[in-house]
């Protein structure tokens, strides 16, 4: 939006400089302007120049920013909140739920909570312990705490933003005052989250006069450098190969992306957000269903920018509203909509309850097409300007229709060497390698092995002395042994010390990684007691839980522990951040 010009034409700036300053200052609030004044004064002061007498500095108000995050979105927003708070004269402290001492929460007078929801309405893995404590009977009273909750989620899930909602209610129940109403953000959270944070910070402002000083003291140490790799960049597909044999019923694409010069500064453990396009055939079916086949602009928009597969409750409701279609409305009214949407997509809605729509109506039924995250399977130390991904094609059938995962089949079916695709770094500082001397155990069946390929490449490059042990599994040894030849080399050159395999369809009785883990329990416990780190990546629904259970059994058996004690042993590893997960 545009603001009235603030600087007089006489200001000692060039035309375009004045425009830029107007754009910033015009939008700034009183507090920001005061801060800026102090800032500039400070700059000159530190440059040893004569400064105008600055007003006496006022002590900044403390503000606690608490986040529950799995893949980093909530965490990033918490950092943004901290910056914004600082600008507004707060002294922010950012706390990860993982490190939260619930008992001490009462001392926080002002509180911002940013929480995402995972699994089927569950808190992010690391947050679980503190979350349960807060929800449980032992939770402290929070009278006198004023707060606001920013919830992150995905309308594709039934339990949309469940965790944020529950926290919001719980804090009130514990006596805290809601200073600002909660917002629930879908995957396109950037804009709404930014607006909410602005409002929240304002709402949590201390009484006006406190901030009335016209100059705010600025601690230069807190200037944070702009985060690199935040914006999507174009990448070229350098290699595209299905690693499964032609006899396999699976399809896992090794995708090498080239960034000539502009490779995101990723670390082993990070992921890339990939910006997919929709299947042109599906776009046509959708357009046809809405009788809009002649709309070329819409066709382009739907193909590249809108989510035309997810069928959320929200979508069904707005469809009922715009079409007044009796069928849909009864669905919405008698609450059958959620059940009906199970396994269905937008196209099913359009075809089941035909109505002609305008281009805008159809577009507004959809949300922006969200990117998909893929663990990076390479180390820059080995591949330089490239980033490798390992993408499993998602294909299934539901309600008599063949369904194709948007991003994974865009990669599998439509991306080829030479093609270009947009990607953005999705850092994960909670899934990092330890120092080169420490041992690591990596459990990564299927595509879960991706970050471990990066780990092994990195450790080879830095000549790590710690041992590396990989547990890999898939369906069939001969046809699904992802990166087999590379693991053989890694074992030869020592960058991988041990490899244990579990293929589930080679014999009548299925073997999975958790079984191998238990078979090797003595050495596993031995490594862990020697300080090894334990990494799990891949399927969240079953694998990650089974692996954790297997490790508990391992401790119980090897150390002759009661189940509770064994559980505690694993919980301790988690607390020490030696049991790390990247699951999806």
């Amino acid at each position: 939006m545009a603001f009235p010009a603030l600087l007089p034409l006489t200001a000692p700036f060039a035309e375009d400089e004045r425009a830029s300053l107007d754009r910033v200052l015009g939008g700034a609030n009183a507090v920001q302007r005061a801060w800026l004044a102090g800032f500039l004064a400070g700059v000159d002061a530190s440059a040893g120049q004569v400064a105008q007498p600055a007003a006496p500095p006022r002590a900044a108000e403390p503000l606690t920013i608490l986040f529950a995050s799995e893949s980093g979105n909530a965490e990033r927003l918490a950092q943004d909140a901290a910056k914004l708070a600082r600008k507004n004269g707060f002294k922010p402290t950012v706390i990860d739920f993982a490190d939260l001492d619930v008992a001490s929460l009462g001392q926080a007078k002002r509180l911002i909570v940013v929480a995402s929801t995972w699994g089927e309405g569950e808190p992010p893995g690391r947050a679980t312990k503190a979350y349960n404590a807060l929800m449980g009977d032992g939770a402290p009273r929070l009278d006198g705490v004023s707060f606001g909750v920013l919830a992150l989620g995905d309308t594709a899930y039934a339990e949309f933003c469940a965790v944020g909602r529950k926290l919001d209610e719980r804090l009130v129940a514990l006596g805290a005052t809601r200073a600002v109403p909660r917002v629930e953000c879908d995957l396109d959270f950037e804009a709404p989250a930014a607006t909410w944070l602005q409002g929240a910070v304002e709402a949590l402002q201390p009484p006006r006069e406190a901030a009335s000083g016209n100059v705010v003291a600025v601690n230069f140490a807190t200037r944070t450098a702009g985060e690199p790799g935040r914006d999507p960049v174009a990448a070229e597909v350098i290699e595209h190969v299905n690693l499964n044999s032609s006899r396999s019923d699976k399809e896992t694409i090794h995708l090498a992306l080239g960034f000539d010069g502009a490779v995101p500064p990723y670390e082993p453990g990070d992921a890339l957000d990939l910006y997919p396009e929709n299947d042109p055939a599906l776009v046509e079916t959708v357009l046809a269903a809405a009788r809009l086949t002649s709309e070329d602009d819409l066709r382009r928009t739907l193909t590249t920018a809108r989510d035309i597969t997810t069928l959320s409750l929200k979508t069904i409701e707005s469809y009922a509203a715009v079409t007044h279609h009796a069928g849909v409305r009864s669905l919405v009214v008698d609450g059958g909509a959620r059940a009906w949407s199970e396994g269905r997509q937008l196209v099913d809605l359009l075809e089941a309850f035909p109505a002609s729509l305008t281009a805008d109506q159809l577009r507004d039924l959809t949300r922006p097409l969200p990117p998909r995250a893929y663990s990076i399977a390479s180390s820059r130390k080995e591949v330089g300007d490239e980033a490798h991904l390992l993408v499993a094609a998602v294909r299934y059938e539901s309600h008599g229709r063949a369904r194709y995962g948007v991003a994974s089949t865009h990669v599998a079916d439509r991306l080829r060497a030479g093609a270009s695709v947009k990607a953005r770094l999705k850092a994960n500082r909670h899934f990092r390698l330890p120092d080169a001397a420490a041992d690591i155990i990596m459990v990564g069946p299927g595509t879960g092995v991706a970050p471990f390929r990066a780990f092994v490449q990195e450790r080879r490059a830095v000549g790590a002395t710690g041992r590396s042990w990989l547990f890999f599994g898939d369906r069939r040894y001969t046809h699904d042994f992802l990166y087999q030849l590379e693991w053989q080399d890694a074992l030869k050159d020592g960058s991988l010390s041990r490899l244990d395999l579990a293929f589930s369809r080679d014999a009548p009785e299925k073997t999975y990684v958790q079984h191998r883990l238990f078979e090797r329990r003595r050495e596993v416990v031995d490594w862990l007691e020697g300080g090894a780190r334990f990494y799990v990546c891949g399927d969240a629904k079953a694998m990650a839980k089974d692996v954790r259970a297997a490790l508990i059994d391992a401790f119980a058996d090897v150390k002759a522990l009661e189940p509770e004690a064994a559980e505690a042993a694993v919980a301790k590893l988690e607390a020490e951040k030696r049991y790390l997960q990247d699951v999806y």
Partner: protein
């Protein structure tokens, strides 16, 4: 100067009685293969490391090693197994192999596609079926065949008993097999073991023995290193055995000093001497055989080099008695007798035609594997694998025949196929055989269809002609003693051999080289035409070709490579 020993001799010597590093190799997870030397040793245990050659082109790009798996061959003397054993093998095939059971040209079964991680499980399951794979391959005496058409019950029992006795007597004594595959007790070092017959380095090369009962030559006695041919009196009582030595098929393209050879009939021995004779023949070959050149190490070359009578003399010396000269016997065919035959004891025996021995359930086609499973579930007698890759449901009481016939019909199993197909055999070749130069098992069926069409056109639809194809010159389907032999030279390229005896007693002769599918038919068609025009009553296709001077007769291995190609009357394609 003496030539250096062949590499395999060093491997055997160093192996500690066939152990090598097999046990360790099984625990290496990242590869489906085993160490190079162990690949030679594992054969003695009945296994071959193979890879799916169809998949080779794509593997490296996909960061996958070759699609390794193991072929496992059982040792089943005389090819006789019980229904219970059949059911267990069928299970293994479906659970751990490629879903097929493969009947071989030597009366046993092979599993294909067993991956390393399943090897021990399968070996234990085989052991649980009271069967083994020891010495099914390798430089030892292999599975011993016995005439399988059991209509002469008495003689066939004797033949089977001798085959079983020879197989057991010549079995390696090393405990490596139990140790490695069945988690048996480790024999300290293994070194103290003794191999009474073989010694530390076993034989120079593979060794194959059979027992035949005339007039059937279904075991192709003339293709074997050692053969015992039943000599019966007019009442059908066994008098003793003619002993044959020095047969073999293997040769190498373009190496004339390698050649197939039909065995010599060396002598006659009394039933009680048979086992001693067998051992003596084996030990003479152990000591006389060429251990410097594996392409010249089979008994057939030992006999060519040393001469038959010195060899017989040495055998007689070792058994401590002279042997009588062979008695006259006659064979009429090396094929199987399809359908029901009745034994002297009144029991019925049903010989089923299994194309190329591949027992599988063809989608939308015959359910061979399932069909035989169903039969095994009700069958009270035994099964007999034949040396022509077929199977006999043996010893069926007359009241049980109807039930078996019903199952045969229900699953598309059959004893009736076209006359040429009934007499056709193809080796395995691609995709599993590492030595294949061309397709065989996967190609012969369609070629036979094309040829049967030509035969029908010349009114020969019902004439029995033997045709055998192999994917390379090693001769696993014994193509050089078939009337029509096709031997792979390269993709879609075969050498055509003609003139082999219908009774398996005469080698064939190279007739044309490098024929593609069309050329094969085009070359044979005029010969079929001439045969139907000019043959004398009862004359076999091969004898016709020789009588009319189109093909030279091969007297013996030595002249196998002489006077090749079409001879005599120029062929006129118009005919």
């Amino acid at each position: 100067m003496t030539k250096p020993l062949a590499r395999n001799e060093i491997i055997k010597e160093a192996s500690g009685h066939l152990r090598g590093t097999l046990a360790e190799g099984l625990t290496v997870a990242e590869t489906g293969a085993i160490a190079e030397d162990d690949q030679q040793l594992v054969k003695f245990h009945g296994m071959y490391l193979q890879d799916d050659r169809d998949l080779r082109p794509e593997r490296t790009r996909k960061r996958l090693e070759k699609a390794y798996s193991f072929m496992i061959r059982l040792r089943i003397p005389g090819g006789v197994c019980t229904p219970e054993q059949w059911l267990k093998l069928d299970r293994i095939a479906r659970d751990y192999a490629n879903g097929t059971l493969r009947l071989t040209t030597r009366q046993t079964f092979q599993f294909h596609g067993v991956i390393k991680s399943n090897l021990k499980t399968v070996m234990k399951a085989i052991d649980a079926a009271l069967l083994d794979t020891l010495a099914a391959c390798g430089d030892v005496n292999r599975n011993v065949l016995a005439a399988s058409n059991p209509h002469r019950s008495g003689a066939h029992k004797a033949a089977y008993d001798l085959a079983a006795a020879i197989s057991d007597h010549l079995l390696p004594r090393t405990s490596a097999y139990r140790e490695i595959w069945l988690d048996g007790e480790k024999v300290a070092g293994g070194e103290e073991e003794v191999e009474p017959v073989y010694g530390r380095t076993y034989l120079p090369r593979k060794f194959k023995a059979v027992v035949a009962v005339p007039p059937d030559n279904d075991v192709d006695v003339f293709a074997q290193d050692l053969g015992f041919v039943a000599v019966l009196d007019e009442r059908g009582e066994l008098q003793g055995w003619n002993v044959t030595v020095g047969g073999g098929m293997g040769m190498t393209h373009g190496e004339p000093d390698t050649y197939p050879r039909t065995a010599d009939v060396m002598a006659f021995c009394r039933p009680e001497d048979a086992l001693k004779v067998a051992e003596a023949v084996v030990t003479v070959q152990r000591d006389w055989g060429d251990r410097t050149n594996r392409k010249h190490a089979r008994l057939k070359y030992t006999i060519e080099d040393r001469g038959l009578s010195p060899f017989r003399a040495e055998v007689e010396r070792r058994i401590g008695k002279a042997l009588a000269d062979p008695k006259p016997v006659a064979f009429d065919s090396n094929g199987d007798r399809y359908g029901w035959v009745e034994g002297e004891d009144g029991k019925g025996h049903l010989t089923l035609f299994i194309e190329n021995g591949r027992l599988q359930d063809v989608p939308g086609g015959p359910q061979l594997l399932t069909g035989l499973r169903r039969i095994a579930e009700v069958h009270k007698g035994e099964f007999r694998a034949t040396a022509n890759q077929n199977v006999i449901v043996a010893n069926v009481a007359s009241e049980d025949r109807a039930a078996i016939d019903a199952l045969v019909a229900a699953h598309g199993l059959t004893s009736h196929a076209g006359a040429l197909r009934r007499n056709a055999m193809a080796c395995v070749a691609l995709p599993t055989c590492g030595l294949a130069l061309a397709e065989s098992e996967r190609y012969l069926p369609s070629l036979v269809t094309a040829l049967e069409e030509r035969l029908a056109a010349h009114g020969l639809a019902e004439d029995e002609i033997t045709i055998r194809m192999t994917g390379c010159p090693n001769g696993c389907a014994r193509p050089y003693i078939a009337e029509i032999g096709l031997v792979g030279k390269g993709p879609e390229r075969y050498n055509l051999y003609l003139g082999g005896g219908f009774d398996g007693s005469r080698l064939s002769k190279l007739y044309a080289e490098d024929l593609g599918p069309h050329a094969i038919v085009a070359t044979l068609d005029p010969l079929f035409a001439a045969y139907s025009r000019e043959r004398v009553p009862g004359e076999r296709f091969s004898t016709f070709l020789i009588r009319t001077g189109r093909v030279a007769a091969t007297a013996n291995g030595a002249d196998f490579h002489a006077r090749t190609g079409p001879l005599g009357p120029a062929l006129d394609p118009a005919a």
